[in-house]
Symmetry: C2
């Protein structure tokens, strides 16, 4: 394997910190590369076995949607192209209606940008391989964080095979160990550490559409397929091997009501009839009853550090529900921000961690709320005329004034605008449109009568996104 020597490392600073990264998943591996590239001495700890030689991990979605923020963080360490080659671009949502008709809703009417369906395992492999090329990054697998005091930079790891304990002292611990983070455990006890975990009352279950007999995709592959059914929905993302990962999101009570194969088939016949021949009856029954529906959780923290020795990034700091496809992207963006701050403050950890916490929480909270909202949009609003009219308006104004009027989805998925600003921007757009519609309505009312006014009112139904978000929050 090709190895970089430290002198190849770009942007390395004079100070050489000992940094321990906990969790060698997507965000942990990328963080290792970002910080390793700066010349710091990195130990990358992983509780599980090496994902490159492991079987599929149950309960973790096997494909993800890569968009602008993730791409930027990958590009910064020279890995964007490698990922895009592998990823499958999805330019639009393809809506599967109950009557088996289809409707296509492009993500970006103006410049046909796409989000990319990438496999978790492949992505993790690329990242780990890239990390291992740095002589200053050491990967330590099968290590369970079993003790120590993270606020002092002290951790004890237990080898999951030999049960041997290792005591590690670091200048900085970066917790990238996901929504159920072990690094976070001690932080929770620290006065002033705000934290919430919110489960939604819907669960998810993964199914699979196999390749066609000729080895190709069974559905057009450059789309994110959605079966919106109001209170629940099914989606499908394409995989490199011509399969589709199908995910059913639904209230737990609806899952519980399906007890037998015949319950399942009659449910699918009513709501997802066109998917039965795609999945295959036998496989549908087998996969549906294999594992129970999984929970979906949103995590919020503030701050992300409790001393200048420990920081949470990625899902450990801000796990979100998956409906905006931003969980991984937000985690990757954390790496970009961290690199920027290391440059700006020349490895002064106190300043870096304080600034990271100060500037990141509002954005992380914003994307969390947006992701909650987007579930309603995907499963319900997407089929409403009011939503489609608003989208047409947004697209038209975006086309007319691309720098002035960026629709919400585009700012979140195809720009690096801070998430909080995306939300504020949308609130401002709502307000503007509302004023314009009211003014037009008033003119129309004066001139032509009541009928057309009520039509313009309908354009406005879908504007109050902020109210939606408030309603969806767990308090």
């Amino acid at each position: 394997m090709e190895k970089y020597s430290t002198k190849d490392v770009n942007g390395a600073t004079t100070s050489n910190l000992n940094i321990s990264i906990v969790g060698a998943g997507l965000v942990g591996s990328l963080a290792a590369i970002h910080l390793g590239k700066r010349g710091h001495k990195i130990k990358l700890y992983e509780y599980r076995e090496d994902i490159r030689t492991a079987e599929l991990v149950i309960g973790r979605s096997i494909n993800l949607a890569l968009s602008a923020r993730g791409r930027k963080a990958l590009a910064e360490v020279g890995l964007e192209d490698k990922l895009l080659e592998h990823g499958i671009p999805m330019y639009a949502r393809m809506i599967h209606n109950l009557d088996e008709s289809h409707k296509i809703i492009p993500y970006d009417n103006k410049s046909s940008q796409a989000i990319y369906s990438v496999g978790r395992k492949y992505l993790n492999e690329i990242l780990l391989n890239a990390a291992e090329k740095y002589p200053n990054i050491e990967l330590k697998i099968n290590r369970k964080l079993s003790g120590g005091q993270v606020s002092n930079g002290e951790m004890i790891f237990t080898d999951t095979f030999t049960k041997e304990e290792e005591k590690v002292s670091s200048d900085l611990i970066v917790g990238c160990d996901g929504a159920f983070s072990s690094v976070r455990r001690e932080m929770l006890k620290k006065p002033g550490f705000n934290y919430s975990q919110t489960y939604i009352e819907h669960g998810y279950l993964e199914l699979c559409i196999p390749p066609a007999k000729d080895g190709g995709f069974k559905m057009p592959e450059n789309y994110l397929h959605i079966w919106p059914r109001g209170k629940f929905m099914m989606i499908a993302l394409p995989n490199q091997d011509r399969t589709w990962t199908v995910t059913l999101f639904m209230p737990f009570e609806n899952f519980d009501a399906i007890k037998s194969s015949s319950d399942l088939l009659s449910f699918f016949n009513i709501y997802f009839a066109d998917s039965i021949p795609l999945i295959g009856e036998e496989r549908l029954i087998k996969d549906f009853f294999k594992t129970p529906a999984q929970h979906l959780v949103a995590i919020k923290c503030r701050p992300y550090h409790i001393s200048s020795k420990v920081l949470l990034i990625g899902d450990a700091g801000h796990a979100v529900v998956p409906f905006y496809g931003q969980g991984m992207n937000a985690g990757f963006e954390d790496c970009s921000i961290l690199t920027e701050l290391f440059t700006q403050y020349d490895s002064n950890l106190e300043k870096i961690l304080q600034e990271f916490s100060d500037q990141r929480w509002e954005d992380a909270h914003a994307i969390s709320d947006l992701a909650m909202y987007n579930y309603v949009e995907m499963r319900d609003l997407v089929n409403k005329r009011s939503y489609l009219m608003r989208k047409a308006f947004d697209d038209f104004l975006f086309w007319l004034m691309p720098n002035f009027w960026v629709p919400l989805y585009n700012s979140v998925s195809f720009s690096h605008m801070p998430y909080k600003k995306c939300v504020d921007n949308r609130a401002w757009q709502d307000k503007m449109l509302s004023k314009v519609f009211k003014f037009v309505g008033f003119l129309v009312l004066c001139g032509a009568g009541v009928g057309i006014y009520s039509f313009t009112r309908r354009l406005n139904i879908n504007t109050e996104i902020i109210e939606w978000i408030e309603k969806l929050k767990f308090n």
Copy 2:
């Protein structure tokens, strides 16, 4: 010591459950009595030493305000009178203005109800003594919860002196171990367990006003004294020994800015001049710098159980900030509700715990939000004309229609109306008043001109409590 035999126990059911209560503080001791009274076999575990023989516990407020909900739960086990004899009734807030003038704001203009200042230690002693009279309640002090699986009713306790371990298996574990609950630790990991801990950006510090030379109180004792100063405030509650517990609430940055005795005295001279001779300069300086300002946290959970074997009540399930004086009262109300559910479902734990979680969370969240809001009212609004006008309106309507128009504070402190209903009720009152004022304003505008309209508008400034609450929340 007099002991009750089990046949004296009222309301005992045929089923005799083994119930372990973790935490022998106020709520734990009362829960033991409530459940012990029903004939269940109770073990009451306490990590600390016996409070009856212990020195003062640092960091826990030494006096509390007992109101209707707490009194009801005490009355149900025959302890209300004993507590009221000891408590000092506070009929009104006494506002200490900057110019050293005073203003009195009664809690209940109509029937002169009071909240009672009671000492934590005395109250806990009464409860523990009462608990020990039951032969079926066993108190086990100096026991630290060190392991086990609470979801299965299994706990391991370590004797803090001998270090001996005891394994305990219970039909039900009731976690009453406060805001930093150990019982809750395992529950946090359970999918579907919603949780948040929110620290406010203000801290608190306790001071003391000693008795007068003649052994009496230095201030009129039947009042809760408040020094509202906008962004911060000081309060004082009377103690049985003629001292006052004085609590200063303030942003941490303001605490940090006071570094020396002269900083402290000049700060007090500006904002709390009348309190300096009451506390005494020397004592003020000593007490202020003795311990750093403490944090204030609000805890929210939903549900309060993760199996039919474990339940959180009191601060362990819903710690609130102290500004409504409802933390202990809400915890005591949990005991009343639990007793009701035990009667209703005849000790069927599955139903009792499910119903407790289902009916309690909205009320607990409501009082938490109200307590956050009340800090703003106490430190700032209480001195605003708009607040006083609104209060006068409320009091008048309450006097006119005592069953129809119950002001918010009265419904929270002097009734057993569920907290959520108190909030909904207030929201409805806000709406009604707003409509009436608008209508009156419109009439006035038509008749007499603009001047008086702007006056009626001012009446309306303090109505939007719900907006305040939304703004104050940590998301």
